[in-house]
Symmetry: C2
Subunit: 163 residues, 2 copies
DNA sequence: TCCTTATTGAAAATAGTTTCCATTTTCATT
DNA sequence: AATGAAAATGGAAACTATTTTCAATAAGGA
């Protein structure tokens, strides 16, 4: 494995070492892919992109690396309901800032949105406070997703009707 | 297969026939299990419960039946992130009324809650309207879930610390 | 009752992810 | 720079929830 020291973001080395982990090429490569694409990549997507430059890196290691990065809070894992996990760089690690997702149930397209976050935050605070009091449940995370039909699929549907 | 006609709710027969489907023992049995347990059962859970009374009914059929009931809107399918789907009777079919879920990330326990629904509805309406205008996305469904630590797991944690 | 067709059950297939384990690599210590 | 203990890797095999296949069976209209 070629040793190209610290071609990745400098904080990665610090971050890994701070947690007692080692700085390795697969970790750098996976993070690089996540940094360069704003899309919601699956483990396999990431594997292909990593593999294009570093053919020796295996799918297993990509899975392991993603798991590590998620546990370290550098990467966020999503489930859009199509049976494969999706990964996105966390906001504070250079990813897109706080947002939620619109998911087309017809074509699987995912749209990031960050409108109405103030209103959302309001609900979340009220709800979190109320629920933690009522159920003594300590809320650490939340998931808000909208499902529906995207513009493209609506158009395609109209086309089909017209014929 | 013993024929015990319509031991299930009378509307099931109508509902199935209305859609061109047949009234069968597996369909009745699966629905019965879902009616009798308010929990969030997996397909396998349901299979075991169905199987206890009707050993000839197979897991495949349980999956198929659940899929059918979900498509008909009689049953709702959830994903709590543990890799297996969960099923719950839809509100208008005799299930619990509209609610969301608190999920303990330590023990997997799921708590139903239906507080703050007014505030939630408010957010949903604002968001749905705004997003459908901005992205021309037609929202048909939403998912709101909270993750965290349940009371029992918090207590267990304290116990562990104390020793 | 008869006949068409939907439904079923068992086995095999699928697909994403995880585990196993022998080999390689990292990096703190010499 | 060399050493060595521990961490990390990659490929194969295992795992697990779910789906597909297909021959046999059952539902229900005629
Ligand atoms: Mn996103
Ligand atoms: Mn519920
Ligand atoms: Zn679409
Ligand atoms: Zn718990």
């Amino acid at each position: 494995m070629p040793r190209r020291w610290m071609a990745g973001p400098p904080w990665l080395y610090e971050r890994l070492h701070g947690c007692g982990y080692r700085y390795t090429l697969p970790r750098e490569a996976v993070l690089q892919v996540l940094t360069q694409t704003p899309e919601h990549l699956s483990a396999e997507d990431i594997y292909f992109l990593v593999h294009a430059r570093y053919p020796q890196i295996g799918l297993t290691t990509v899975y392991r690396t993603l798991d590590l990065l998620v546990r370290m809070g550098i990467v966020v894992k999503f489930d859009f309901g199509d049976g494969r996990a999706r990964f996105e760089l966390a906001a504070h690690s250079g990813g897109k800032s706080h947002h939620h997702h619109l998911i087309c149930t017809l074509c699987g397209r995912v749209i990031d949105y960050s409108d109405f976050l103030e209103k959302e935050k309001e609900l979340l605070q009220t709800t979190q406070k109320g629920l933690s009091e009522k159920y003594n449940f300590e809320i650490t995370d939340h998931l808000i997703q909208f499902y529906g039909k995207c513009q493209q699929c609506k158009n395609a549907e109209k086309q089909a009707e017209r014929r």
